[in-house]
Symmetry: C2
Subunit: 328 residues, 2 copies
C-alpha cells in the first residue's frame, strides 16, 4: 500500500512536532514543509525540504494531507478555509468560542471544492472534548469538570512579558488539588474560577526594576490574573534558562455521575494527560487524525469534521480484525 503523503504548512514548534511524529508512523511520509518565510532560512529537524508557501499549489498532486500549523488567533481563521480549496487539511484551531464560525467557513470551502477538512484537533479541543462527550453520553446525570495543568500558558506568559521591567517571564497554570479531590468525592461541587486553578509566574526582571510594582501589575491584570490566586517568583536569568526552557502541559477531564433507582450510585470517569512537550503531543494527535482523513477522503467524504465525527478505528494502522484481536 502506498504511504500517506503529508505536508506541513507553517514551521514553528507545532510544525516541527509534526515533522517528528510522521517519522514514528511507517505508513506515512513527509513531502515537505511550506513556509511564508524565505525557505532557505528554515532549517528542519530531520532535513526534510522547506518550500515557499507559494509553491504549494504546484505540488498539489504530491500531497494527500496538509497539516496546518499556524496560530488560532490570526493564522488559522484565514489559512484553513483558503488551503482547503486546494488540499485536504487538518488544523488545531483552539479558540473554543469561535469554533462554530470556523467550522462553518471551513465546511463551506471544503464542500465547494470537494475536499475534506478536520479542525480543532489536539488535546483541548480534541481528546478532552472526546472524553467530555463519551462521559456525558454514558452518565447523563452528573457533572463534568475540566482542569488544565500543570503547564505553560503561552497567552499568560506573553502577558507577563508585556509588563514594564520584565526581561523574561513564564506562567504555569496549576490545577488546585483540593478542588480535584472535592470532585472525586462525588459531591458534585460548584467550583469558582479561583477554586479550580492557580497561576504561578517566574520572572526575570530588568536591572533596577521595581519588583513590587511588577508583581502588583501582574496580579491585578484583568482577564489574565485578577480572578486567580497568583504567585510571582523573581529568579535569575540563569535559572530561567536552565529550568523554564520547556513546554510541559497536561490536564484532567472528570465526570462525576449517578445511576440507580434513586440516582444514588456514584461513578467517576477520569481522563488525564501529563505532557513533557505540549507541541510534540499535539502534533502526534494531528498526525494520527491525518491517517483517518486520508481514509475518509478515499471513501469520498467531503466537508468539515471534528474529532466527534471520526470512528476510532480510522485512527489506527491496524485492521479491524487486528484491532478486535489485540485491543478490544
Amino acid at each position: 500500500m502506498s504511504k500517506l503523503r503529508i505536508a506541513i504548512a507553517g514551521y514553528g514548534n507545532l510544525g516541527r512536532g509534526v515533522e517528528l511524529a510522521v517519522r514514528q508512523n511507517d505508513d506515512m511520509e513527509l513531502v515537505g514543509v511550506f513556509t511564508r518565510r524565505d525557505p532557505s532560512t528554515v532549517k528542519t529537524a530531520t532535513g526534510v525540504s522547506a518550500y515557499s508557501m507559494d509553491d504549494a499549489l504546484n505540488m498539489r498532486d504530491a500531497i494527500d494531507v496538509m497539516i496546518i500549523c499556524g496560530g488560532s488567533a490570526t493564522d488559522l481563521p484565514k489559512q484553513t478555509p483558503e488551503l482547503v480549496k486546494h488540499f485536504n487539511v487538518i488544523d488545531s484551531f483552539d479558540t473554543h468560542a469561535r469554533i462554530p464560525e470556523h467550522f462553518a467557513n471551513v465546511d463551506k470551502a471544503a464542500k465547494e471544492n470537494n475536499h475534506l477538512a478536520m479542525i480543532s484537533l489536539g488535546w483541548d479541543p480534541g481528546l478532552f472534548s472526546l472524553n467530555r462527550l463519551y462521559a456525558e453520553a454514558i452518565l447523563p446525570s452528573g457533572k463534568t469538570y475540566t482542569f488544565w495543568g500543570k503547564g505553560v500558558s503561552q497567552g499568560h506568559s506573553d502577558a507577563i512579558r508585556r509588563v514594564d521591567g520584565v526581561k523574561k517571564g513564564i506562567q504555569y497554570t496549576v490545577p488546585v488539588d483540593e478542588a480535584m479531590d472535592a470532585v472525586r468525592s462525588g459531591t458534585l461541587p460548584e467550583l469558582t474560577t479561583r477554586q479550580k486553578h492557580k497561576r504561578e509566574c517566574f520572572v526575570v526582571a530588568e536591572e533596577g526594576a521595581d519588583l513590587a510594582k511588577i508583581e502588583n501589575e501582574i496580579k491585578t491584570m484583568k482577564n489574565y490574573f485578577d480572578e486567580y490566586d497568583t504567585t510571582v517568583n523573581f529568579i535569575t536569568d540563569e535559572e530561567f534558562d536552565a529550568v523554564h526552557n520547556r513546554m510541559p502541559h497536561g490536564g484532567f477531564v472528570m465526570r462525576s455521575g449517578l445511576t440507580g433507582i434513586d440516582e444514588k450510585t456514584h461513578h467517576m470517569i477520569e481522563y488525564s494527560i501529563k505532557l513533557d512537550s505540549n507541541p510534540e503531543f499535539t502534533a502526534s494527535v494531528l498526525v494520527c487524525y491525518a491517517r483517518a482523513l486520508g481514509r475518509l477522503s478515499a471513501e469520498g467524504q467531503t466537508g468539515c469534521k471534528t474529532a466527534f465525527d471520526i470512528a476510532p478505528a480510522y485512527l489506527s494502522k491496524l485492521s479491524g480484525e487486528q484491532l478486535r484481536a489485540s485491543l478490544l
Copy 2:
C-alpha cells in the same frame, strides 16, 4: 421525534441496570423485559412489563434495539447470533480471547438478516479498549498498561465459594500502587502478573471448618490465585452482609509514550473509572450505544460493529452543532 424503543433480554443485575439507565435518557423508552423464567415471577425495578422470551418475536415491530443481558460464558455465544436474526442487538460479551469468533458469528447472522449488532460493550471490553486504541494511535512509540480494580471479580468469588468449608466468599482484585507509580515514572517497566495486581478475599467459614486449610486451598488455587499475592480474611456473617453486599469495580488504562528527535520526550495518558456498581455502569454504556445503533440502523448499516467502529457523535443526544458549541 419518536423515542428509541428498547427491550431487555435477560433480567439479572445487568438487565436491571439497563432498565434504570433507560429512564435517564428522555429520547428512549423501555418496551419490556424478556425472560426465560416464568414472567409472572419477575418483579422489575420500575414496574415495566416482563414477557416470556418466546413472545419476543411477536413484538418485533415494537422494538428498535434488543439489549442482551446474558452471561458471556454460555448465554451470549448462543443468544446474540440467534436474536440478531430478528432484532438489532447489543451485548456485553467480555471473553476477550473469543471475541473474534463471536464477532464472526454475529456478523454473519446480522448481514444475512439485514440487522445491525454491536458486541463487547461495557468498560473492558468497551471504554478501556477505546482508550487503548486512541492512546496507541497517538503515541505509537510506547507501552500500554491496563489495571483492574479495586473491584469484585465474580469468577474469583465463585471459585472461593466452591472451596470446602466456605459459607460465603467474595474476592476483590486490587491494583498494586507501586506498579502504577512505576508506570507513571515513564521508565516503561515490564511488570509480572504478581507485580500488577493482588487479590483480597473475605470469607465466612462454616462452623467448625479448618481455617488454615481453607486459606491454603484458596491461595494455591491454579489459574485463579497461585500467581498472585493473595490475602484471606475470615469475617462474620454479619460483617459480610453489611460490608460486602455491593459490586464496586474500576480500573486504569495507561499509555506511556515517547516523542521527539531522539524519542526522549515523555507523555502519559491515563484513563480511569471508579464505579460503585459495575452492572449499573456497564448498563449505562450499553444504553448510550443503543442510541448509536438506532441511528446507524436508520442509515441502513448492517452487520456487526464494536466500539471501535462508532463515531463518538452517534452516542450523544445532542446535534453536531450543539456538540461543537458546547463540548468541543
